[in-house]
């Protein structure tokens, strides 16, 4: 670390293009869990949020269990965890969780009546396709990345668009989540146990081959998003990606959640998680 050498990249603090955003009530609030359900390998968690506004598709919340956060043996989870809103109906917010560690484990074991602590809605949401309105909209979901796609598909359909969702999963055990989707859906599985046998990005290539005047929205694992970025860059197709990075705060306080963009490091909690694919530095995935 040396102040003498100029920074490798631009600071990434220059005001980004403002994305659509609904402001969050200040602070953390307790919300009761009102329903939980298994959706294939995932878990759907519904809470009653009386004090928050309706979020935009693509926005997220920081969640923690009111009890038992702090975990086993003095261990993690300690900080809140970020989750995209999967569906919202009035004061009811739904989240879809994949159990991958102590935080998702604890949240997945919540029962109706228990309290969840929540901050949000946070970040910026998806933007409508740029006018002139394209002939169609392609949504690409990889695994649990389907969560924000569900609510975005709903919103698009409500506004009269006819999105086609390409949903990729590891295997048949995970595909039930596709039933949450409205509109047309094509499924791919890595092991070929359902739908297309292969990557969802192969479906995307085929669709764009067929008609590339469509806006693309994608959420999924980093490798998938990179493939989407590269495909869309090659074809000059407009794409918005919903990124993930480990987050400590979710509201721009810690500078921990950055991704490398062409103009420097960007905090994906305040200047994302939705980001224009063209803004990503090509090396964004390199560590």
């Amino acid at each position: 670390m040396s102040g003498a050498t100029p920074p490798e990249v631009e600071v990434g603090l220059a005001a980004p293009e403002p994305g659509p955003r609904v402001e969050a009530p200040f602070g953390r609030r307790a919300c009761p869990v009102i329903a939980t359900e298994s959706v294939g390998a995932y878990r759907l968690l519904a809470v009653e949020d009386h004090h928050g506004p309706a979020p935009l598709p693509g926005q997220f919340y920081m969640l923690a269990a009111a009890d038992g956060w702090g975990g086993e043996a003095g261990e993690r989870p300690y900080l809140g965890r970020a989750f995209s809103v999967c569906r919202s109906r009035g004061t009811r917010l739904e989240f879809l969780l994949e159990r991958i560690g102590p935080g998702t484990d604890r949240l997945g074991r919540l029962s109706p009546g228990e309290q969840m602590l929540l901050v949000g809605p946070l970040g910026i949401g998806f933007s409508e396709p740029a006018a002139p309105s394209s002939t169609g909209v392609l949504l690409v979901a990889g695994g649990i990345g389907i969560a924000p796609i569900v609510t975005w598909a709903e919103a698009l359909i409500a506004s009269g668009a006819q999105p086609l969702t390409l949903a990729g999963f590891r295997s048949r055990a995970h595909t039930s989540a596709a039933q949450l989707l409205g509109g047309d859906v094509q499924i791919a599985t890595d092991d070929g146990s359902q739908g297309h046998d292969g990557f969802v990005t192969e479906l995307l290539e085929a669709e764009l081959e067929h008609d590339d005047a469509r806006a693309v929205y994608a959420c999924g694992p980093p490798m998938m998003l990179e493939a989407v970025r590269a495909i869309c860059a090659r074809r000059a197709v407009q794409a918005q990606l919903a990124l993930e990075e480990a987050m400590a705060c979710g509201f721009g306080a810690c500078f921990g959640c950055v991704v490398r963009t062409t103009t420097g490091y960007r905090r994906i909690c305040v200047d994302g998680p939705i980001i224009d694919a063209r803004d990503l530095d090509e090396t964004w995935l390199e560590r």
């Binding site: 600071v11 603090l13 969050a24 809140g80 602590l117 400590a248 810690c254 950055v258 420097g264």
Partner: protein
């Protein structure tokens, strides 16, 4: 010596007047991003008595390569790397917006040489929007190779360079990664600082379980959160016993009781860092919890008795 923490809960550090004794830790609350997220409600319910900016440097910095975070048992390691717009960018873009906050502004600065510190303090201090300056001395001096806050002599020499530049309060933010933090605090006091704050983060490393290599992009980082609280209390007790300037205590404060512990150890003011990540309004909650605890313990006026809790161990 007048007490920094009054019976009314107000704090005076030189010309800096605070309504109550809870600040944010530098780099743990970006008021500008928070305004975008929470809107004007943040201004109305601002959780701190003063706002401490993220540390700024002379040149802009992008910060460290990701990943920058690792969660530990009851703690957080960060290796953010002081990303900031640089002095010019800060004065031009951030200062006007920070000046709209309802509380006094304390600007944290870090130089990689005495010269840089001189430049930063001179430029920042002359802005009327700035109420006080915090000197983050956890960076290496590129000339000596030594972290300026790790040696009393380096800290003393730094104070000599910057003290004459301004009459605004200068707060020295101490690093805990030293053998004798109170000796550094004494040097800062001899050099004329108006207060010291501590602790900055403890040097820490996380290993990526899948590769066996360090997880953080920069290799190492700093530990904060409840895990460090007991260490921060020990250092606060030491420092408060050896200097007469006010001490701003921090490190793992989560609840009102934790803050009271720091006052008992001799602090006149506290700062909340990592806990704001979990609860953006933690500053307010912690203050309310303190007031409630003091009331429960039977002080006549809870509002007025932050100070009393510190008596048992005060010199």
């Amino acid at each position: 010596m007048a007490r920094a923490l009054g019976d009314d809960g107000r704090v005076s550090i030189g010309s800096l007047e605070l309504e109550h004794p809870v600040l944010n830790g530098s780099g743990t609350f970006d008021a500008i991003a928070a305004l975008r997220t929470f809107g004007d409600e943040l201004r109305r319910r601002f959780p701190f008595a003063g706002f401490v900016s993220k540390t700024i440097t002379v040149s802009p910095r992008g910060g460290n390569p990701p990943p920058r975070l690792w969660e530990t048992p009851a703690g957080l390691i960060n290796s953010i790397g002081l990303p900031n717009k640089g002095l010019r960018g800060f004065l031009q873009h951030d200062l006007p917006e920070l000046a709209t906050l309802p509380v006094p502004l304390i600007v944290s600065v870090a130089g990689f040489s005495y010269e840089e510190f001189r430049h930063l303090v001179a430029e920042v201090a002359e802005r009327p929007q700035v109420a006080a300056i915090e000197l983050n001395v956890s960076c290496p001096n590129v000339k000596s190779g030594c972290v300026m806050g790790s040696e009393p002599d380096e800290t003393g020499a730094l104070m000599e360079v910057v003290r004459s530049l301004t009459s605004k309060p200068l707060i020295v933010k101490l690093t805990p990664n030293v053998s004798d933090v109170a000796a550094v605090a004494e040097a800062a006091e001899r050099g004329g600082c108006d207060a010291v704050s501590l602790i900055n983060t403890l040097r820490a490393v996380a290993i990526d379980p899948d590769t066996g290599s360090p997880w953080l992009g920069a290799g190492q980082g700093g530990l904060s959160g409840p895990a460090v609280r007991a260490v921060a209390l020990a250092m606060t007790l030491d420092v408060a016993a050896r200097v007469r300037v006010p001490v701003i205590g921090m490190g793992g404060i989560e609840r009102g009781q934790d803050a009271l512990d720091f006052f008992a150890a001799g602090a006149s003011c506290v700062a909340v860092g990592t806990e704001s990540f979990r609860d953006p309004a933690a500053g307010t909650r912690i203050r309310d919890e303190m007031v409630a605890l003091l009331a429960k313990r039977g002080f006549e006026s809870a509002q007025s008795d932050f100070a009393k809790v510190s008596e048992p161990t005060k010199k």
